[in-house]
Amino acid sequence: MAHAMTVPESGHAPRPRKAPMPPVLRAFLWAAIGFLLLNTFVIAVDPFRGHPFVTGPSVVFGWVGAAIGWLLGIGLYDAVLLPLMGFPTRWQERQQGWRRYWEFATDHKVIGLQYMMFAVGGFLIAGGIAMLMRYELMTPYLTIFHYPSNYLTAVGIHGTLMMFSFATVFMIGGLGNYFVPLMIGARETVLSKLSGIGVWLVPVGILTVLFSPLLGEWSTGWRGYEPLAGQDANGILFYYLGVLALTMSSLIVALNLVATVMFRRAPGLTWGRLPLFVWGQVTVNLLMLIWFPEIQTTFVMALLDKVVPLNFFTATGSPLTYLMLFWLFGHPEVYIIAVPAFAIWNEIIPVMAQKSLFGRQWAVIGLVFVMMLSGLVWAHHMFTNLRNSEILPFSFFTEMISIPTGFAYMSAIGTLWKSKVRLNTPMLWILMSMFNFLIGGLTGVFLADPIVNLQLHDTFWVVGHFHYTIIGSMVFSGFGAIYYWLPKLSGRTFNETWGKTLAIITFLAFNLTFSQFFLLGLHGMNRWVPAYPAYLQPMNFEVSIFAFILGAAFLGNILYIGYCWRNGAQAGENPWGAKTPEWFTSSPAPRYNFPVQPEIVGSLYLYGEGTKVPVVTTALGELAATSRATQDPQFDWHDYAPDGGGVTS
C-alpha cells in the first residue's frame, strides 16, 4: 500500500514545472478538441451525412470525445495515466488554497466539497428554471415560453438536474464523501483517485443537460417516456448522455463509499457501532450499485433506439417496456434521495438532546428494509396503464413500505420524548424536515390506493407529493446537516437568530407553495401544461408568488452559509458535544483526518450518566509519536494500525 501515497504531506519537495494553464481551462480545451476529433470523424465516414456539421450520431460520438478529453484534461492524464504507465508526471496535489477545489484531488474532503459545490450549482440552475416555470404558470396562456415545447424542455431540465445533479449528489457525493470516512475513523477512502476523477463527471452532466436545447426541444420531462421520446428532436440525446455522466459519477461514489466502509473502519468500529449516517449511506449506496447500471443500460438502449434507430421501445405493442425499465430504477431513486435524510434525523437529534438514541436497531432496520422494499413498489407509477391483475400486488408493497419508513419517526420520537433538546438552527431544520416528510408520506398513502390514484395520477397532487417528500426530506435535512457540520467543515459557526429566521421563512414559503399543489390537483390541474383552463389561475398565481419567496429563501440560506463559512465566529472543536468520531479531530480535519488512528471503544449514541467517551485517540498515539510519519515520506499509517496490514508492533 505504501507506494500509493508518494505525495509528501508537507510542501517541502521542489515543485515541478508549473502546468501551462489551470486544469479546468485545459479540460475545456481538451474537451473541445475531443469533440471536434470524433464529431468530424463521424461526419467524414457517415454515408448518409447531410449538410449540418453536427448530426445526431456525430454529436453522440463527439460528446464521448469531449467527456474523455475533459477528464484527461482535468487530471486523468497527469495524475492517473502517467504514473500508472510509469512515466514521470508534473502533477502534484495542492494541499491548500481555493485552487485545489478546481483541480483533480484525492482528499475525500476536497472531493466532498467539490460534489457539494457542483450540486449547489445544479440546484441553483434547476431552481432558476423552476422560477421561470412558475412565472409561466401565473397566467393560463403562454407568456415567457413561446411554445409548449420550450416549457416542456424547461420542465425536463429542471427535473433532470434536480434529481441527478443535486438530490442524488449533495448528500451522497457531497456529505457522504466528506463525512463517511471521518465518521468511521478512516484516514482516506479506498478508491480515492477514481473518486477524484468521478466528481468531474458532475459538471459534464450538468452542462450537457443544460445545453440540450442546442440540439432541439425534448418534451418528455425527466422520465424520457417512450414512444414520445422517439418523436423528440435531438435534445433528448443530451438528456441521455448527461444523465449517463451524472449516474456514472454517483456510481463511483457508491462503489468507493461501500468499499471504504467495508475495509477502512477504525479499530473497534463494528457494524453494530456504525454511525446512523453511515448506515444511511451504505444502504443507498447498495441501492445505487443495484439500480444505476439498470437505468444506464436503459438509457444506452434508448439512445441507440434514437440514433440507429433500433425501435426497442417505439415498436407497436411495446411502449410500456421503457416505462417499466424506467420506474424499476425510478422508485429506488427516490429512496436513494430520502434515506440519507432519515439517517440524518437520528444522527443529529441525540446530539442536540444529549440523550441516548432510542431504538437504534429499529432505526437501522428501517433503513435496510426501506432499501429492500424499494425495488418492489415501482409499478405504482403505472396504475393508469398497468394490467388490472398487477395493480394489487404493487399497491400492497407500496402501502407496506410506510412501515419501515415509520421506524425513523419512532426512533426520533422515542429519543426526543422527555428530553431537553437544544432547539437551535440544525434541530429546527430537522423538526421541519420531519413535518414536511410526514405530509409527503401521508399524501403518498392516498396515491398508493389505486382507486384514488386513478383520479390523482398525473395531477398536481402528485407534484405536491413528491416535492414534499424530496424537498421535505433531502433539502430540509440537508440544510440541517450543513448547519450542524458547518463548524466541522469550516471551523466557524453561524448566528442562531439569522439561522432560525432563514429556516422559518423557508419553511413557511415551502408549505404555502406546495400545500396548494394538492388542492390544484384535486381541482383538476394536470401536469406538463404551460396553459391550463382559466378557472385554475387564481390559485396558480398565488402559488407562484410563494414559490418566488421560496426561491429567494433558498438563495438566502446558501448565501448566509457561504458568509459564515468565511466570516462566522470561531467554533469550538466539538461545539455540540457529539460523540461520533468526526468531532475527535481538528476542524476542519487535517489532510489524513486524524493525527493518529482513533479507536472506538463504546457506543456512539449513548449519553448521560455512566457513559464514556467512545473515541480514543491516545491508544495508538504513542506509536505515532515515535512513528516515521515526520521523517519517512513513504509513511503509511496502515502499517501501524491494528487492522491494516496485520502489523501491530
Binding site: 433538546v421 394536470n526 383552463p533
Partner: protein
Amino acid sequence: MGENVVFAVLWVVFSVLGEIGDRVIIRHNPMYYIVSNQGQLALQAFNFLLVVLTPVFVFVVLFLVFTMVRFTTKRGEMPPANKRFAIDNKAFVLVWVGGSIALNLLFFLHPTTSAMEQMFALDQPAANTHDLVVDVTARQWQWIFSYPQYGLTQTLTPNGQNLLELPVNVPVKFVLRSYDPYHTYDQYADVIHSFWVPAFGIKEDVIPGETRYEYLTPTAITSYAVNPMVRVQCAEVCGPGHPWMESPLAVVSDQQFAQWVKAQKALANG
C-alpha cells in the same frame, strides 16, 4: 402524571377537532365535483383515508410542537448530563410497529382491495351490458368520439370541436385506442395519452397498439359550462399539443341525448 397524560389528552382533543374538520371537508367534497359512480368509489376511499389518517397526522405534528414547547432547553443552556436514558421501551415499540402494520393491512383490505373489486366487477358480463359504447380515439392532439351503436363516427359541436355527450345514469363502456386515422402510412405512430374527465374521478392511459376499456355511469346532468371539471383532458404528456388536448363534455337526459344523436346524424349526412 406528567407529559404522558398531557400529551394523550391533547392528542385526543386535537384528533377530535381534526375529525370535525374532516366532516366539514367531506361535506364540501374534497374532490370538488364528482359526477360518476367510479368517482364516488374514489371519493369514498379518499374520505376514508382522510378520516383514519387524521389521528396519525395529529400525533406526529402534536409531538413536534410538544417537543418545541416542553422538551427544550433555554437558549445557550446545555441539556442535563446526569441522567440515565431509556434506549428501549417494548410497549411503545410494540404499539408503533404493530399499529403501523395493522393500519396498512387495513388500508390494503379497505379501501384498496374492496374498491378495486367493485371496479373490476364492472367489466364482468353481469355488469358489462353494453348500454352505451363510445369509441375514444386519441391522436396527437385530439380526442375523437364515435358511437358505433348509433352509426356516429365523429361527434362535433356546431363550431367543429369534438364533443362527448352522454346520457345520465346509463352505464358507458369507453373503448380507448391511441392511433391516428389520418396518418394512413403508419396509423400507430402515436404516443401514450391519458383519458381523464376530472369530474368522473378516473383516468386511464390510452396506449398505441392496445385496446383498453373503462366503465362508468355518469350520475348527474351537467356540462363544461356548469363546471370546468366536466371536460375530457389528456393527462399524460404527449408532446407540444398536450395542454390543448381537451374536449367539452355534456351529460344530458335520455330525451336530449336522443335528439342530439339525431342532430349529429343530420350533421354527418350533410
